[in-house]
Symmetry: C2
DNA sequence: GCCTGCTAATAATGCGCATCATCAGATTGA
DNA sequence: TCAATCTGATGATGCGCATTATTAGCAGGC
């Protein structure tokens, strides 16, 4: 029993009309001045109902007709490992939500080969992209050539996460790491902190750059000295924090804040009583019974949703059927969206215990 | 700039050959005795490399050639709400993992309309399914007609979760709730428990039926009396447990075990010292700092992965290109897989405090 | 010189659909 | 009564690919 699809031709035969007529009835609108009588229309609709006809999307796509109503999601890093699952999960949740509301299906490009933990968009990959009307891109390390190909083929796509250098032409939905970080510094200053360290400046990814940027400008605006702590392991970092008599530190979530706090307490510095620790984003690997972090959170779900909405509009505007629309020009869509990262009131921030400068009675650990 | 795809014809022109030749080179095998010289082959491959040609999957699909290498995932319940996200997440993780290994893409059918929290597979939906080579079905409440259509069209699919009544012909990957529950009873008996209650027998879903089944048969095998507690709210349930002097209860995860334990302790019965509570599955809404439950866990990730593998094989066997394969008959695939639910050693099970029968000083509550 | 056998490739076809150009028949205007 | 208009529909075409049938060219056997 070779599964035979019911085609428009089958329906047409049953209704006693031509295949073209069926197509017209289905698409409602008739571009050229083609008219279908109500009677015929009903006959066709009945035939469709009886046969249970379902259009073949591949054929629709090929015939250049409509969109597939499929939007793709490409993740540069492999999403599978538990770790990144925690990270990507919220994005996907937001994306799914938006997809439901838009009535589109989601295509997860899980087929692209992962090389050293990073998914590449190979030639093979390009083939697959075509199934979707457009694509969301998640992750940091996009490849130059790949991007160029996207632009060349005029394939609609949207990045999740701000694109910095020469990202001017790339549509994205990002988070305001700069503003979020600035606010954390201001909060700490308001609590009486002066010696505020920054942990985790390594990395050339955009979030890191933005956080450092925010830290620098906020400290400068407050007239304070920037102090970066950048050591190889958590223990050394904690030692340095103690040593430098910081009363507060801001930490990027990928820098093992949980372990850092543990190390601090092991050295007799309680969090937040002795040292406030603010997290610049959500913990990447939340652990059971972990600390309730203060800091800011990245609105990942909303980013996902907004990105999909944006993509959806790009696709619509890009579609050959665009002219049927409201005639709205593409320029009124915000190609670069930066979302606010709301503050999180946890339990790791407290007023500075002793704002006055102490004697320099440090002991050298490492 | 109307995005123009590069087609096989373009490649052919560049290589100075016919479109058919390009197709042959790409597909390697030539069913009929068509030969391509090594020299020509190279010329075509070069042209492909230069042009960056990527096949159009829609066309491939339409031409009846290969599979789209896309497998679908249809979720009956809306996956979006946080609650069900926690539940479905692990399945999806497993599915994704399998998809990566199989080199297929995943199509999430988020487009189907959700009616009172349940997604329906409407006519619209059928259209969409066709994009994928086959489909995974998640969730309890499938619609009869929908299933029939699947069977009629011979569309490959696999259920996640055991199918009971007349599910004989439906391929599925389920979990051994029966066995898992039996083992919990046996564990409790080994710990000296005799008065073992069952909480949460409502519901006609398969897991519930299986759990009740397991409880019944295990208790019978141990020569003990089955005792079901089925009240409307958690407080009343806790009261009943205390009242009946159960030394242990097994609870289905959808019955608010966390709240139940709280209520028990509020009534002076510590868990597990006074009452052991075993969970028949993972908590549906894990809460921060929740109890470390003893019981068994449902291997959701593995179920997802196994289901996708199974689907993949069904698709392959069903494909018109099957004959090229090893000639393996479809019958050697296990259409009904039941996975073991491993025991979880948490902290909510303890030896029965007082195994000897007490006087029957109960007070009647509701 | 003609047929056979073999290699290397091409032409032609169809998948299911959207769309354009065309057409038959009915109605109207003069 | 014949052309002009309108209504309601059909035939033909092509999307990009896989595949089958066919052909061109050439070596060898008789």
């Amino acid at each position: 029993m070779p599964r035979r699809r019911i085609t428009q031709t089958d329906v047409a035969a049953m209704a006693g009309v031509s295949q073209a007529t069926v197509s017209f009835v289905l698409n409602g609108s008739t571009p050229a001045g083609v008219r279908i009588s109500e009677e015929t229309r009903q006959r066709v609709l009945d035939a469709i109902r009886i046969t249970g006809y379902t259009a073949n999307p591949a054929a629709q796509r090929l015939a250049g007709g409509g969109l597939a109503q499929i939007l793709g999601v490409f993740t540069y890093e492999a999403t599978f490992p538990r770790a990144s699952r925690d990270f990507y999960g919220p994005f996907l949740t937001g994306i799914e939500h938006a997809a439901e509301r838009l009535g589109v299906d989601l295509l997860l490009f899980t087929s692209a080969p992962v090389q050293d933990g990073r998914r590449r968009l190979t030639r093979e990959g390009w083939q697959r992209l075509g199934v979707a009307d457009g694509c969301l891109l998640l992750g940091q390390h996009e490849h130059r050539g790949e991007l160029q190909h996207l632009l060349d083929t005029n394939y609609p796509f949207v990045f999740i996460g701000k694109r910095g250098s020469d990202g001017g032409r790339l549509p994205y939905v990002g988070a305001d790491y700069v503003g979020g970080t600035v606010r954390q510094i201001d909060r700490l200053v308001a609590l009486g902190h002066r010696r505020i360290g920054y942990v985790g400046m390594r990395g050339t990814d955009q979030p890191t750059l933005d956080r450092v940027d925010g830290y620098r400008s906020a400290m400068k605006a407050q007239g304070l000295t920037t102090r970066f702590v950048e050591l190889d392991d958590v223990a050394a970092t904690a030692a340095e924090i103690v040593d430098q008599r910081f009363t507060a530190v801001v930490v990027a979530p990928e820098n093992h804040p949980e372990e850092l706090a543990d190390e601090l307490e092991r050295r007799g510095r309680r969090v937040p009583d002795d040292v406030s620790v603010l997290l610049l984003g959500q913990p990447h690997h939340p652990r059971r019974g972990g600390r309730p972090w203060s800091g800011f959170s990245v609105p990942r779900e909303e980013m996902g949703a907004r990105a999909l909405y944006l993509l959806s509009r790009l696709v619509a505007d890009d579609s050959p059927k665009r002219d049927r629309g409201t005639g709205r020009t593409p320029t009124d869509l915000e190609l670069h969206q930066i979302l606010v990262c709301p503050d999180v009131e946890g339990g790791t921030a407290a007023p500075a215990r002793d704002p006055r400068p102490e004697t320099d009675n440090r002991t050298d650990p490492a």
